[in-house]
Symmetry: C2
Subunit: 467 residues, 2 copies
């Protein structure tokens, strides 16, 4: 469903100004505008007035200046795979699509970094890197653009070992609301030379600047990889095994929880022989000896907590099947309630509270009679719930909204956050004051106002409640 | 040598206002004021007008509000071990000493984090953690306060494996220039809920807020540790071995370069049997099998580059001696030129340029006839030069100043930074525009102005050239 905001008053002038530069790369075609609004959840699509396809930093700067001159909102667009309404245009304006800025500009193998444009997707980058012995580890599931992953501080299954986007962006170039082009840092691995503008831009959701180039840290492809599945009697037992594993300094690369609901869905979808109990999916990176040793030690820990058997393998084919199944969990879960709409949401808590948080959330799911599979990047204390909602039933929608609200409040009460990796967008703005307190939220707004005084970059998102 | 700035006009009123709260914990005693100015290098000491010893966040907030009311500058003080003039008071004002805020408030072993006050030093924290199986890895050499390490984005020998302060601070509490107390984030390991205020404060050198509490990430004490020394024929050969080691995904915990000058000084000072050639000092963390495997593989790589023999050990005593010697390098080098003052400085470049940068810098040292040992955290591309300066010789001082200037320009030309870990303070302000460009520096100043509009927090540091 779409909601058409009133057009931004100056949009016609902006289009006229940009036409000589962009030609038919600026358009008001309805189908293109629809495709540039949020479409993935229960949020209403809010269409931009026009879409511009930029092909260079200079073009983005020209577009930004044209919009700024007419006070027209600007919304950066990569692949449109964010869940929380990040690309919606509640005040109309211009969607700046950077997906055609998709060149890999340099791979510096000795420095283990690369320079890319923001429209390059993570799978494209990793295919390109195939023969270098290096890879880019951040993996949020979707084949998202690296610019979008940066803007939303994405993470995913590898984060327990390799960190999130905040740890893997060395520097970036962005166009500020005033049209200035800034590069946040040099290509050195570390620096103490000034405010950390890189991290300020990572996770800023297009509200402070539009990212036009990235220097990304790469990691060496491990010599050997092993992985497998381990069933547990309860979610709590699985979480306790995770804590013990990490405390034992086993450098686990991935450690993912599937609750019994997700496990059943994934089994049907993938044909893998999985048990109908909570599962941990694991991966270990290292030398052949080391991954064998890590796998064996994890198996022993799992047993201590009543889990197992831990079936693991260092064969690429088996592992690929396993992780494909994990990545397909979103799709597999669609079959749990055909016709319903999945509404993915996530929270993150200190890991010692993870079992409590997941258990209480699952108890409420049962109590409310919802169908809502749970998966978790449990090494980070991050988990996702994906209620399957009958969108024709307003009562059910209201129930699920209250359920998500309570889940967020529970996570925050446990010193956790309203979102571990999906971002704030439109939907989670309402929780920021509860999470951060009024003074901290005021500081965020001070920064936003200082950099974007006319609130032109992605208005109505993150700290802006005016729309 | 000391330079007495004119007292800040409102200081008497601030002292009167704070006396009822602080009693004799606010003082104008000359000896205390001297001890609270920069004293470590060739920078003139610039004394604060008074020093306040705070014991709680509430007291810091009261102090900040009193200073703000009278437009009196505030300079946060931890242990005073920064090299670039960070604690100097060029406009007078109040030094806010948080060293008595030295309590460890919580250690959450399952979450692998702790909550500390900013005056706790890293050695105190690690002693306290001794029985927990956890440790705090960031190690800049000096037993600095954790608040100061956060404010200067410190790193050190372990950073190649465990990261810098930016990677090991989960959240922090700070008092802003307006007196607001903000907590930057929750205790969850990751979050996408808003601007990354934690990283904005890390490295802000007391110019945006005064840190009053920290949540720090802890790491499991490795089951086994091995380490040793490896000689190389040239600095370049050592650097090439470092690159190959890291590309091979050997998770080296420490990899430190000592040039032949430093090696000789350390040998005299420590009594260790070292060769008079460039050396790499290494440490590996993991299981007993894994550290043995890592050591052996490194030895093979070293040999490929003409290095070796690599003598390593997993005996704690031998390793302790080795790292003590590395940490004492600063002192050992004093003996190279008795009576001279060491002027430590650092830069950081992409690792592929490290050998070039070190070689060119050493060639210039030779050409100028300076005594200037070189050590490097080479896994990060970061190295330090410590010219030994005869402070009675103005020509020599001028020569060394030009030498440092050229070293910084060289690093920046190689896409590096004017400082990898020492920070900007007063001395490196002059390089920020060259490093970042005017637009990026303007963005930093926009942020500073927005948060500290009256320029009261650590004026004359980082992006402020007005003093």
């Amino acid at each position: 469903m779409a909601l058409q905001p009133s057009p931004a008053p100056g949009i016609a002038k902006v289009i006229d100004a940009l036409r000589p530069i962009l030609g038919d790369r600026i358009t008001t075609a309805a189908a293109v505008r629809e495709q540039h609004a949020s479409q993935l959840t229960w949020l209403l699509s809010q269409l931009p007035d026009a879409v511009a396809f930029a092909e260079s930093t200079a073009e983005v700067a020209a577009i930004v200046k044209a919009c700024a001159a007419e006070n027209v909102p600007m919304i950066a667009f990569g692949t449109g795979t964010a869940f929380e309404g990040h690309v919606n245009a509640p005040a109309g304006g211009l969607s700046i699509d950077v997906s055609r800025m998709n060149r890999i500009l340099a791979v510096n193998t000795e420095d283990m970094d690369c320079v890319v444009q923001p429209g390059v997707t993570r799978q494209t980058l990793n295919s390109y890197l195939r023969d270098t012995g290096l890879f880019f580890p951040v993996d949020p599931g979707a084949d998202a653009s690296l610019g979008g992953m940066t803007a939303t501080r994405a993470s995913g299954t590898n984060a327990v070992r390799y960190g999130t986007m905040k740890d893997n962006v060395v520097a970036l170039t962005a166009v500020l609301p005033n049209g200035d082009v800034v590069r946040t840092a040099r290509r050195a691995r570390k620096s103490s030379a000034g405010y950390d503008l890189t991290r300020l831009m990572v996770g800023s959701e297009g509200t402070l600047g539009i990212i036009t180039e990235l220097v990304l840290k790469l990691s060496p492809v491990p010599e050997a990889v092993a992985g497998g599945i381990c069933p547990f009697p309860t979610v709590r037992a699985a979480c306790d095994a995770v804590i013990a594993t990490i405390q034992s300094a086993i450098p686990v690369a991935r450690i993912e929880l599937l609750d019994e609901v997700t496990a059943a869905a994934v089994r049907s979808h993938s044909g893998l022989a999985l048990m109908d109990s909570p599962l941990l999916l694991l991966e270990f990176h290292g030398s052949p000896q080391s991954v064998a040793e890590q796998s064996q030690r994890f198996g022993e820990i799992a047993e201590t907590f009543g889990g197992g058997p831990f079936e693991w393998s260092d064969k690429a084919e088996q592992r690929a099947k396993l992780w494909q199944a994990r990545h397909d969990a979103y799709w597999a879960c669609l079959a749990l309630r055909p016709g319903a709409r999945p509404i993915p949401t996530d929270v993150c808590v200190p890991i010692a509270r993870l079992a409590d948080c997941v258990e209480q959330t699952k108890a409420e799911i049962a109590e409310l009679g919802l169908i809502a599979p749970v998966v978790g990047h449990v090494g980070d204390g991050n988990f996702h719930v994906q209620p399957m909602v009958d969108m024709s039933n307003p009562d059910e929608i209201a129930t699920v909204k209250r359920f998500i609200e309570r889940m967020v409040e529970r996570a925050i009460a446990m010193d956790g956050t309203c979102t571990g990796e999906h971002g704030v967008g439109q939907e989670k703005r309402r929780y920021l004051e509860l999470e951060h307190g009024p003074e901290t939220l005021a500081l965020m707004r001070t920064i936003k106002r200082a950099i974007d005084p006319h609130n032109l970059m992605n208005p109505g998102k993150l700290v802006d409640n005016s729309l």
